[in-house]
């Protein structure tokens, strides 16, 4: 699937767009016009910036789209690509409901801009498994009842997958007695500490832990 989508940025006067391009785009223009940006901002402080084209791989699909520089990666996934599995909880990186895998690593999609991810590879919960073919961790969450309302679950699962990779690579955590130890043992305390970036308002933590433990290597 290749998605071609240009956003509608609403009505912006042509002169404003040209001035913004002049002021923001070319170094030579900005140098010749040292006060250009400040002047334009003073005239039209709320003008929408020009969209920027990016190419990004989402769940193995190559996607090209033009994004407002202000658009967060989470909003791009949810609003532009209609991948609404990743959830917006706090929008401050504190709850983890938006966790996705960026080039294989878990990150908060709310705390980064889409425009910064040209060429990157994103995996969301939609790319982890499907109702017909669940990932073992998804099956474990169902088996262990690792949720009540389910809002945090996509983030919990993406985060846990990233966390298990980190542990596999021997990364220590705050719960590790000796950060220099060559191998770590994924005890319950280790899993809890490593998952502290994901909050569950229903407090299903014991069952989330059990689900992760089911697919984690033996401690």
């Amino acid at each position: 699937m290749t998605v071609e989508r240009l956003m509608d940025f609403g009505a912006v006067p042509e002169t404003t767009r040209r001035d913004l391009l002049l002021a923001g785009g070319a170094t030579a223009a900005a140098a010749a016009f040292p006060c250009g940006i400040a002047a334009v901002r003073a005239q039209v402080p709320m003008a929408a910036p020009e969209p920027v084209r990016i190419s990004i791989t989402v769940n193995s699909d190559a996607v090209e789209l033009a994004v407002d520089p202000r658009m967060g990666l989470l909003d791009m996934l949810r609003e532009e690509l209609r991948l609404t599995g990743s959830k917006k909880g706090c929008d401050h990186g504190q709850c983890g409901a938006c966790t996705v895998l960026l080039n294989g690593r878990r990150v908060n999609a709310c705390l980064t801009l889409a425009v910064m991810h040209d060429g990157d590879d994103i995996r969301t919960i939609e790319g982890i498994g499907s109702p017909e073919s669940l990932h073992p961790l998804q099956a474990a969450f169902i088996e262990r009842d690792g949720y009540q309302c389910g809002y945090c679950t996509p983030g919990q699962i993406c985060s846990a997958l990233g966390m298990l990779e980190e542990a596999q690579a021997g990364w220590p955590s705050h719960a590790s007695a000796d950060v220099a130890a060559p191998e770590i043992s994924l005890t319950d305390a280790e899993i809890r500490e490593r998952m502290s970036g994901n909050i569950c308002r229903c407090a299903a933590y014991p069952n989330i832990l059990a689900a992760i433990r089911d697919v984690a290597p033996e401690a």
């Binding site: 923001g24 940006i37 400040a38 990186g93 705390l111 980064t112 970036g197």
Partner: protein, 327 residues
């Protein structure tokens, strides 16, 4: 969020030039703090320059036997680096005590040093804050100041620096490499990077606009044990009320050298040379540590809700000394 133009920098020199010529331009690395501040309306850049892909993420040995950590190195990569874990466990411990797994996977070393305070009045644009709006006043001074500083603050600002990593780097005598407009480079001891607020809490560092941190250089590791201890409201993913970074060489019960830095208590990592001199050469026992704690906390002042931090800092310091002095 206010509109801004976006530029992916091609190299360090053009990134510095681009920011230097626009007073409201900002560098962006991981963005985990800047983007949050932009959403809150605290930061309103007109132009952002992405410096996350300039090849500055390497961690390399130095000829002197230390490590040079690129400014774009991710917090998680530094914490997991085998050389850091074996030779600078203090730095791994501090990084792993900070933020969450997701944030450490995005946050850079340079951005960690330059992150802004989490003082709630700095974040709340409806409240007066001298750091955000010079001359507006400080709402924390007579407000809810439980997280505020007890050392190094001023009438203008009692905000703390929130980093754990910077506290460890301070105790490790790190140096900060800086690039500026026109390709000029310079080096600052980490203790000279951040400024105390005085009358100008809006000026937080000794970097000029358009200067960029390119690396942090660690000298060879100090002798003895290294311990980072953090006390916070939750067991994980919370900023420090008090943190202590100690390196202590106490072989044979006598202290050869010690380095002590505190976090969560001041506008910058708090290191007191006199306290380190006081314990040097002394026997590794409670009396020596008490004297050092007195020196570290000299002039400490609470503002009501945060009075407890002074005693908490003393106890955390003594406990960490005791752990570090045990073989």
């Amino acid at each position: 969020m206010r509109g801004f133009t976006y530029e992916r920098a091609a190299d360090v020199a053009s990134a510095c030039a681009s920011v230097a010529q626009n007073s409201s331009a900002r560098f962006i690395g991981g963005g985990t703090n800047l983007i949050d501040l932009m959403r809150a309306g605290v930061e309103r850049p007109s132009h952002i320059v992405d410096i996350s892909r300039l090849g500055l993420a390497e961690i390399a040995e130095t000829p002197e036997g230390g490590l040079k950590i690129g400014a774009a190195a991710l917090n998680s990569d530094v914490a997991a680096d085998r050389r850091v874990r074996e030779r600078y466990p203090l730095l791994s411990q501090a990084l792993l005590a900070g933020a969450s797994g997701q944030i450490r996977n995005k946050a850079s070393v340079g951005g960690n040093l330059l992150q802004r305070t989490r003082c709630p009045y700095f974040y709340d644009t409806r409240m007066p804050c001298n750091k955000r709006s010079p001359g507006a006043g400080c709402a924390a001074f007579d407000g809810l100041n439980r997280m505020s500083a007890v050392l190094g603050a001023s009438r203008s600002c009692i905000a703390t620096h929130p980093s754990d990593m910077a506290v460890a780097m301070s105790a490790l005598d790190a140096e900060v490499e800086i690039a500026g407009d026109g390709g000029k480079t310079r080096t600052l001891p980490i203790g000279d990077l951040h400024r105390l607020p005085g009358e100008t809490p809006d000026i937080e560092t000794n970097l000029r606009h358009g200067e960029m941190i390119t690396a942090v250089v660690l000298p060879p590791p100090p002798a003895g044990r290294q311990i980072y201890r953090k006390v916070r409201d939750r067991a994980s993913f919370a900023f420090a009320l008090v943190s202590v970074a100690i390196t202590l060489d106490a072989t044979g019960g006598r202290i050869g050298a010690a380095r002590i830095a505190l976090g969560g208590v001041a506008p910058k990592p708090w290191r007191v040379a006199r306290a380190e001199e006081i314990v040097s050469g002394q026997s590794a026992e409670r009396m020596s540590f008490d004297a050092a704690a007195d020196a570290v906390l000299e002039g400490a002042q609470g503002y009501g809700h945060n009075d407890f931090k002074i005693e908490l800092a003393r106890r955390t310091l003594l406990r960490t000394f005791e752990t570090a002095s045990q073989a």
